[in-house]
Symmetry: D2
Subunit: 357 residues, 4 copies
């Protein structure tokens, strides 16, 4: 089916191109009776917005969200919640140079081939601008979930990587740095590094990690819709993501079973948490822990080899204002997608629970 | 929705517990008019079956698949294809010791909590035995796809890892070794290592990689159902999988954009393939390349700490016949899930193509 | 998506052709912990089975259902429930005469054109034999629903139609007559009429009505998935059905609003029930009441004009053993589909309820 | 799943309350490369809009549709098409009298019970105003379908019913009368009758019929998603609809099989068309013909008995401007829903066709 809907119960459908009139979405399936705090939603959106710091793109979109339905007297009615963010600072002429040329490692070529007709301005639908709609929906999902808490943070930028065990991280430090890395020293190094990379017209990748606390036991639907499979799909659907791992992930493949198994203790908690909070595709009540790999941003302020729509060789070089590293702005997006998955699975789990033992 | 269905068009629903009467499934949406080669399907199943070599479990299930509908005179009719594999060598008494005890890093605890009632024999529904049904459906999908080829192989076991560039691998070597690693020397080392680990009653993890060739340009449905997001979900739904990465994956996060971008050449191919054959969530015609991380098998022939269903401390130790390393038998499962994703996306893409430029 | 799945939560996928090895299905999403009474399920199936009386087809299928998964120690486990009914009395040679000829008002022509390849024996997949799987799933759904009661009955055969107000019908009489009409006098007339029609090698249509009691207020998902829209789709999917109406239905279009509106009384009941228990697509707690129109069976023991697959004119005449009127055997099928809809909607409603006021 | 999405491929999600900021929707899955004629879409909307004639509500909404995405340089891009219709002439104070009182045969009671919190102004989400979004999407679907033609018309109002055989109707006359009945004499009578009913503060029901021509053979997905089951669900989801029948419908139940069967002629056409263009759930190439029953409008300019939210008895009487008969404005809505079904099924059919004989 067409791919612009996420979730089954708390179901988000998004629309909009980077340089069109607006972006936005419809949330269908939000429970009725939820008091909505609009300021908190806008705050989440501000964590993602361009121009927020010295190490992100200097585009100046205000990204104000307006709700159009589904909320009456400040409370959800159970009907679809439509929302919109107007596109204001769209400088479409910055993009006329790529009308006929495919930017390397961008979606220009594949959109052209798939659809035959594309809105090339700012990447159109393939722009990461679309993720603003996800942040709105995720912020709303968090308000429904209340007791569950989501802590995404910058785990690494290039080779600069957090070494602290995840259990010891002080999540209150995440927002203290414009890098969103909760280790202040490392955060400074990352900041310097990103600035250096940008100066060269280059970009760099990184890893966002996320811890979710207070997830009830029992979420996830084996065998195909395992909780971490849903989380994985959600994260891999974010622009620039190339990898996902839960718990011990790729490192865990090097371990022996006797090291890797999480002993179950008397209080139904496990000793270690190599499982990352999910066993057999179902949450086990331990913190859910996963990592998401973001490739270096594809738009460079350097000349690159490519071809044009007429199959001729061409040079392409970024214009306008772009992120040297997507990771700091990706942190709220990872949280938003995590909230969408958890709420969706929770609603699904509740559907049958009443009948069960 | 309940999680036992995979795909939208070529839609597989599976059933069955490890020690029940049978396992099997229904494939709905297979195109009509496909000539089915049953022997090839059985052969794929034999690549997954227990007892096939010295480094896998010694259970002796024959795993014969029987088709019950949807094929008439050897040709698909477009109606549902039901199939069944009888459970023959199920020794249920091997499992009476875990009736009331949760095995660490298994699904015993989470199934008990989610459903309140579980078939504990051999892990019941959470057993990897379920993946035999996926192999059947995947083998059928391959017969529909014909021109697309799938090459999964053992990339690493523990710390023993392939170093060869993926472009240089000779996939005809994969089936030559019981490890399914296409590098004969490395394969021998892996075999020795697995045997050593088993002797200690321990287990070890590993990585399966997969290359898919001849995928048409244009598969994948942005923004949420990106091709690699669908592949990721498919792989993460396989038992014991903890991670997925496409193209450069986690390593790519350490690169600069100027190193990572894939220059587009005159023939619409790219120079490098750090994208792994997918850009903007859509296949670009290059080989699709991804890796899947398998944790060490959780069933050990050693004592482990746990609790029982009455919250009391308990010891648990594997009985019966188990795999010391899941990777060799996982290779055909990875291929099967990849085939299910590619066919599903191809059918979806075809739905709208006729109207398009 | 392929059309062999019904429901979203209590999700039935069926398989099987009339003269294949077996028919059956998989139910995914049945709540765990439900004690299953297999005898009651078989009893429902016996109400549908051929050969049960003098006015139905004399085929002698025993229609025994066998369960293969999802039930452990007599209790559902929350995993998929697979079941199978073997095809025993299939006389395929009775159908060799229609291998190349399209029977009028049958699905032969449309299946051939849609799929290019069909199992012509006994109508293959298009045979009403498939509905036996629906009865199994519906019987299971009834066991989950418990407090809700389903009362389908024969409302009319040809021009012989019940005149009693539905509130006054004694549903305990339904099973007393082989016609399943709860008015004994009318039932006798119907029986005579059906026998007379059969003697001429002809067939006749009729209407099945259904009353559902004790449906909780609040089921149905506006705006597209209104409760009566789901019921309508369910009924229209049954073989030979040409119409569906709820409450006042087509007759209600002739009324004035002042006659038709259902006054709301102090106990939250309505005076009249022209709405048929559904308002705005949501159940209002009153009995749900609807009617389903079945056309005369298309297989006649008379010569009919048609063409063959080579576009040549041909004569066709039914052979074998067929129903002169489908209505008596359709009664349990209508109930089964109603149960599937109500349970599905109930589960969906529960998903969000906990969060709501 | 929440019920505000229709279709699987050409997938419409609608939002908006009658007296909120706006209504609208997102269409996901529209093929790329379709040239969009906005004027024609607006024209369809004008056929549905209030205030268009003397026999409909005198509300004066201009109902201008604005598109926000998915169309670039006048051509669809294959990305989501969002659209909006502002609510302009909403007189919310007309509704303060029903804040706490349930109007009989309206959705007030059921929405209150289901969601606990409702936007009572003008019926909120349950208002037929939502159908304007359907007309937009349907008009777009018609532009994709091109060669298929949709002819809905007023078949009856109260007891005034068309007697002409459907094959003889001149559809060019439908828009000549404000009743949308293609028989000019009958149309005048209907007009008089509706005016008379309105004068008494009463309302009346009626039937809309629809003929669809040039539908390709092969649409519809047995067994559950039969073409007429999908059409039935679509129609039953329209406000005020109580019944649906295809071809011979309820009248056909009174016929003998020998009268009812449609003989197949040499050119693959049938003699009669009691099947209504669908056999075995699949289109057979003949015109598709169905009828939709609309109950009398529930809002009366008369006192009616009801209760309030505190369970006390109350009187309620319509205020504001309402339709005395919904049928003339329902004609374009029926066409729109028909177009959504046919396009969705066509896209689905195309998905697999390429592989088939």
């Amino acid at each position: 089916m067409p791919g612009n809907t996420f979730g089954s119960f708390f179901k988000l459908t998004t629309f909009g191109e980077s340089h069109g009139v607006a972006i936005g979405g419809i949330i269908d399936g939000c429970p009725a009776g939820i008091k909505i705090d609009l300021a908190t939603i806008q705050k989440e959106l501000d964590r993602r917005k361009p121009g927020q710091s010295a190490i992100v793109t200097q585009r100046k979109e205000s990204d104000e969200v307006v709700f159009k339905s589904g909320i009456f007297e400040g409370i959800t009615t159970g009907t679809p919640i439509a929302f919109e963010i107007k596109n204001k600072d769209a400088k479409s002429k910055d993009y006329s140079h790529i009308k006929d040329v495919y930017r390397p490692s961008h979606a220009d070529f594949t959109y052209q081939k798939k659809y035959g007709h594309r809105d090339y301005r700012g990447g159109g639908r393939s722009s990461a601008r679309e993720t603003a709609s996800r942040v709105v929906a995720g912020a709303l999902a968090k308000q429904v979930l209340r007791s569950v808490s989501f802590h995404a943070f910058t785990f690494s930028v290039g080779n600069l990587s957090l070494v602290q065990p995840v259990e010891e991280i002080d999540f209150s430090l995440t927002e203290k740095s414009i890098t969103r890395c909760p280790d202040p020293n490392l955060a400074s190094q990352m900041e310097e590094y990103i600035k250096k990379v940008r100066k060269k017209g280059d970009t760099v990748g990184g890893v966002v990690a996320c811890v979710i606390k207070n997830v009830p036991v029992g979420l996830g639907e084996p065998v195909f819709d395992k909780l971490h499979a849903e989380l994985g799909k959600a994260m891999l659907s974010i622009n620039a993501v190339k990898g996902f791992e839960i718990g011990s992930g790729f490192e865990g493949t090097k371990m022996l079973g006797s090291q890797h198994n999480d002993a179950i203790l008397k209080n139904e908690r496990t000793g270690s948490n190599y499982s990352g909070g999910v066993q057999g595709g179902i949450s086990n009540g331990m913190p859910i822990y996963f990592k998401v790999a973001f490739k270096p941003v594809a738009t460079l302020m350097q000349d690159q080899k490519s071809i044009d729509v007429h199959q001729k060789e061409a040079q392409v070089k970024g214009k306008g204002r772009h992120d040297p590293c997507v990771v700091p702005r990706a942190v709220p997006i990872v949280e938003a997608m995590a909230a969408l998955v958890i709420l969706d699975q929770l609603l699904l789990h509740q559907a049958r629970k009443e009948f069960e033992f």
